[in-house]
């Protein structure tokens, strides 16, 4: 399994792109980030104890690198990127009858602080345990767990304010 990159990409690709969407304004940019992060991971995957956590670390590192280079290019582009990020294409797919609810959830997710959102993405859609999240984000395990709790609490608060469709 460790030597089959397609298996890795099939299993983690969608969650990785969702993870990268925190820094990328659209799906295409997020896929570019995942592509580079994944290639870097693949070259050095044997150096780590937990390859799954390391995969997310590689993607985040490259995402931040990408973001810095993009910011250097022009502040106008940055502003455009931020607006794209807020009103960009959808993060999730699902049945049409749940479209409204999905939009509400997406909006609530986008409003979370980045530090909480990344933990939530890794836990819910990445399927990582708290120790893995801690390793991937270079934070203590307790911090990862508390950020997750705060994220859920904030989501619940926001969703409570929304009218139930």
């Amino acid at each position: 399994m460790l030597d089959d990159w397609t298996g890795w990409l099939n299993q983690h690709g969608a969650a990785l792109v969702l993870f990268a969407r925190q820094w990328a304004p659209n799906q295409a940019d997020a896929e570019d980030i995942v592509q580079e992060g994944f290639v870097r991971f693949w070259r050095s995957r044997h150096r780590t104890g937990d390859p799954v956590a390391y995969l997310y670390t590689c993607v985040k590192h490259y995402a931040l690198e990408w973001l810095r280079s993009r910011r250097r290019r022009s502040r106008r582009e940055e502003a455009a990127a931020r607006s794209e990020l807020l009103a960009g294409d959808t993060l999730f797919t699902g049945p049409l009858e749940q479209e409204e609810r999905r939009e509400v959830l997406e909006k609530a997710l986008r409003s979370l602080p980045e530090t909480q959102r990344e933990v939530l993405v890794l836990k819910i859609w990445g399927g990582l345990a708290f120790p893995q999240i801690a390793e991937a984000l270079h934070i203590p395990v307790n911090t990862a767990a508390s950020r997750y709790r705060y994220a859920l609490a904030k989501l619940r608060e926001q969703l409570a304010e929304e009218p139930i469709p």
Partner: protein, 146 residues
């Protein structure tokens, strides 16, 4: 409280992130293929360089050992271990022959000089060095010019 907490998690888990496009798979495949091709190319270059170095070292060793053999051959006459080859033979104008004659007497030395002068005089056209192996890397100019 806990129920609603779990319900929210379940609702979030039910959301499916968008599938990745084939472009991502293609991009990763291209990047990894490019890298392995670069690695193969660099390995081939390493092999070529290593082969070149090995060939150069082998050639240098062969040339060096060949030169050493030539020098050994050319210095054979001057080698004290091989001195017995010419010791006691006064037919040739060698240092050993002159030393032997001088050890006998001054008259013997002069007689030997005269003998060699007669034997290797210019009128005979015989080169007095022709039968000697030269103890030099370069043969002296027989015409005496520079």
């Amino acid at each position: 409280m806990i129920e609603s907490f779990d319900a929210l998690e379940a609702e979030l888990e039910a959301l499916r992130p968008r599938d990745v496009s084939p472009r991502l798979h293609r991009g990763v495949a291209e990047r990894l293929a490019k890298r392995s091709s670069l690695r193969r190319r660099s390995l081939a270059w390493c092999a070529v360089v290593a082969g070149g170095i090995a060939a150069s070292v082998t050639l240098a060793v062969l040339i060096w050992s060949g030169d050493a053999q030539i020098i050994r051959d050319r210095t054979m006459v001057a080698d004290p271990e091989n001195a017995s080859i010419v010791a006691g033979d006064d037919r040739l104008p060698t240092l050993l022959a002159y030393e032997g004659a001088l050890a006998d007497s001054a008259g013997a030395f002069e007689a030997l000089l005269d003998k060699h002068a007669r034997t290797y005089s210019l009128s005979t056209g015989q080169d007095p060095w022709a039968n000697l192996m030269m103890p030099y890397a370069f043969v002296p100019n027989s015409t005496g010019g520079q």
